[in-house]
């Protein structure tokens, strides 16, 4: 029985090794958001060119998606075809925030690939991005009816992300 104590270091080693091994499969560039369950930061952004802008308070009472994008962002191009169908598929409004971009570049980007957004705010200085805790585009946020951030997705959305996280959450939030 006392001999068993000599196994303890081996057991501890195996436990640590298993933990580290599992951690290897985590993507270290995906960070948890400090804004989950926090109220959406207030913002009032101008639109692209002469289009109407975007104000936080107009979302009140509905579930919305906010997508941070930029014309200079390569992964945003990958994500774009998915965004084109997203708002119809999930029957939820999708708003865009054009992050640190020139409005004319963004207009060209959307002219080329299509405009999936109900409305777009231009965050030229990236300050709204910082208030959201954005650290790279694209990022997608789910806002609930009370105006709280419920999900942040870092990087381009894939159909699997939509099926696994986004769609179930949006449906649940819309019912509540």
């Amino acid at each position: 029985m006392r001999r068993l104590i000599y196994l303890l270091p081996a057991v501890a080693f195996v436990a640590l090794a298993a933990y580290f091994f599992v951690s290897l499969t985590r993507d270290p560039s995906v960070l948890p958001s400090a804004m989950i369950n926090q109220p959406t930061p207030a913002f009032a952004l101008a639109g692209l060119g002469d289009q109407p802008g975007l104000v936080r308070d107009e979302f009140a009472g509905q579930v919305v998606l906010i997508n941070f994008f930029a014309s200079w962002c390569i992964p945003c191009r990958t994500e774009h075809p998915l965004l084109m169908n997203l708002s119809r598929e999930l029957s939820v409004p999708l708003y865009g925030i054009d992050y640190k971009d020139k409005p004319e570049d963004a207009a060209r980007f959307l002219g080329e690939l299509g405009d999936p957004y109900r409305r777009i705010g231009a965050d030229r200085e990236g300050r709204v991005g910082i208030d959201f805790g954005v650290y790279g585009v694209p990022e997608t946020y789910v806002i609930d009816k009370t105006g709280r951030i419920r999900l942040r997705h870092v990087g381009p959305l894939t159909p699997a992300d939509v099926a696994r996280e986004l769609a179930p959450l949006v449906k649940a939030l819309q019912r509540s």
């Binding site: 560039s29 400090a34 990236g126 910082i130 650290y135 790279g136």
Partner: protein, 155 residues
């Protein structure tokens, strides 16, 4: 001589050239010094293992400018850090705060050290006692054999 001085100055200037843009600096040297210290405390979230003081990333630049704005607006150093943590979480602090979920991180090594010390102390105490038991006097047979060996050696 002039050339040597010039070369020395250039070399020094090169080491001092960090990511902080001259254009970002504040006119007030004490505020600027606080801004530099704070930027050294904050992680660049894009490159993750650099402080925003060292990083050339665009976001790091924006955050450096933001720190200087907050300081100019009259924020204290903890208020500036709080401002960043509210948006980016504790991960933005290069020095993790001591709180319930970081106790293992801060005190784990000391716990392991204490365990090791305990193990070592127990082992030493036991092995310190053990030889005394082993030193039983020689039996009559052994005494005879010892004498014999010693005699052989001398002879």
């Amino acid at each position: 001589m002039r050339v040597i001085i010039l070369a020395a100055m250039l070399a020094l200037a090169a080491t001092a050239a960090l990511a902080v843009d001259p254009g970002e600096r504040l006119a007030d040297p004490s505020l600027e010094a606080r801004a530099r210290t704070l930027s050294g405390e904050l992680r660049c979230l894009v490159c993750q293992n650099q402080s925003i003081d060292d990083s050339n990333a665009d976001l790091a630049h924006d955050l450096r400018v933001l720190i200087r704005e907050r300081l100019t607006a009259g924020d204290s150093d903890p208020q500036v850090l709080q401002f960043m943590v509210r948006r980016y979480g504790d991960f933005i602090l290069l020095r993790p705060p001591v709180q319930a979920d970081t106790y293992v991180l801060w005190f784990g090594p000391f716990a392991v050290l204490a365990l090791g010390a305990l193990g070592a102390a127990l082992y030493l105490r036991r092995s310190g006692r053990a030889p005394q038991q082993a030193l039983a006097p020689l039996s009559a047979d052994e005494q005879r054999r010892l004498k014999q060996l010693l005699a052989e050696d001398q002879g």
